[in-house]
Amino acid sequence: MKRLRPWTLLMIAWLAAVAMPALAGGGEPGESADSLAHRQVLVMLRVPAAHYRPDANYGDDYAHAPGRSARHRVARELARVHGLSLHDEWPMPALGVDCFVLDAPDAASATREALALASDPRVESAQAMQLFHALATPASATPAPAASPRAATGDPLYAAQPAAATWHLDELHAQSTGRGVRVAVIDSGVALDHPDLRGQIAVARNFVDDAGNVAEAHGTAVAGIIAARGGNGVGIVGIAPQARLLALRACWQRDAGSAACSSFTLARALQFAIDARAQVLNLSLSGPDDRLLSRLLDVALRRGISVVGAFDAQARDGGFPASHPGVLAIDGLGPTMAPRTVLHAPGAGIPAPLPDGGWGLVSGASFATAQVSGLAALLLQRRPGLAPSQLLALLEPAPGVVLALERPRAIDACAAMQRSAGHCVCACAAASAAR
């Protein structure tokens, strides 16, 4: 031990000497997150496949091999040469790359330098940062409790939930409650201590900043619609009340009703959800086509994760990620001239939890999407190996049930559950009596 002492002191001194920020830090003082994102560039550097190293023979994480520092050095060099500054970085093992965020002086420089960086042989790919937005209108008046059998057993706002009547939610819950299905809510922050959400969140992570858990309107409403606790004497019941939520904050609240996200924050959350073996990804947001996110969605779909995205009627192609092949595109307000692949779910006047601990009525494709994510969890509990394409087949209305010109086609939740269960699910007693 005597021999160790001077070395130990040296080690402490060495660590103290490097106690400095590793990265350049944020944008200009007072600059908004939206404004900063507009002048940022994403640079991906390839990560070689992990392999043996003689100095890693005692359980050293292969991912911590010196290559990580080498790529950091390359990113710093690229930033210097292109007149940018290194802002942040994150490993994306699903794509075999490390992703670096570089700040440019302005948006035009960011676009120009993304092009230039992409031609550097050390760079796997590069793109300008893009912004996405939630598809919702601000919450309105507190919904009034209504008399219903379920209200008496503990969910006073149940009767106000569109899914109660349209989807026969009680009868769906007799078949499945989404028990144990992992649903990733990639959204703004979720109020973890809301009475309808307490105990429903398996994991919460913040990919926007270091603020820890942040309670925001959009994420809280989406999470509650998917998996609010049932029978707890307050509020609503989620479509899948026994699903396990991954509350992944990738968006930040702009005002009471809207939220914004960036390519980088969404990519970090997607990578986490893939690693955490989520079974459903809820993406109640829209924006421009994004190659980094497209690649991550393709990985998720290949691994059997169902992705539900909000259809944006204001966007020419329905908005990304709803326009991405394999993503279940959900409209909430129809009728629209949506492509035939888009499905409709109730999206207006949905009671949902608010970050202040109360409830409000919310509307928009965001919340229709949340209901379909909940429905996907119900179906996945019954058939855990359900592939995304099989889920789509279950949710699509049967031919002849809807008019050929109806756009978008409405989801028949009872029919989907019936196809999954193989027997009558909704209004069976009435049907039996009629026979």
Partner: protein, 241 residues
Amino acid sequence: MLFVAPAWAQGSGSAAWLSDDRYHGASLSDGAPTAQLTLAWDGAGGWYAGSQFTRVRFAYRASNGRDAGAELEAAPYLGYVRALGPRLRVEAGAQYTWFSHTSRYAYPELYAGLSGDRLHARLAWIHDYFGMPADAWYAELNGDRPLRGPWRALAHVGLLRQGTLRQGTLQPGRLQLSAASAYGVETQRWRYDFAAGLGVAWAGFDLQATWTTRSADADTGCVPWQCGARDAWVFRLSRSW
């Protein structure tokens, strides 16, 4: 707007301070702190190569009674890794371990490995392990698990099988006869080693603290001759670039 460029080779390196250089459960630094340098190269198509340089010091004294002293260990390696799926990789390679003074300890090894995201298994065949006229097999399983923030948990278990000595190969200078006697000419020897601890990465530095141990029956005739304490806390501070 995104463009994909061809893959590009990456060079990297690390320098480390170790409180003890533990290898297969034995100390190669006589239980003393030492330094290590690693250079690595990753090619575009799955090929990789590199070399590790470590200051080592064997505990045994030469037949003339003099301390063997400190020397340099160099371990160049070359391998190929290929993905079998999104979370599984297979690899194969070769390594040669050489010592600047006790060059008779030098040995080559061939290995194959299978890696997932968090678990890495490797099997190595070692010819004339530390100069013993007997081949050895070493199987190891390494694992890591991310914890909060920059912290991670580390674990390692290894099993060494040293074969019987080849007859007629014992000769002074190549192998100490007394040690060979202790080793047991006719017997195979088994030794396991285990390590577990924590790692933290910060600002380009990586600090590991692991507790290591090895099987009790390896204390007699242990290769290379005196293996140091069975149990030890090992600290490793490295900086990579």
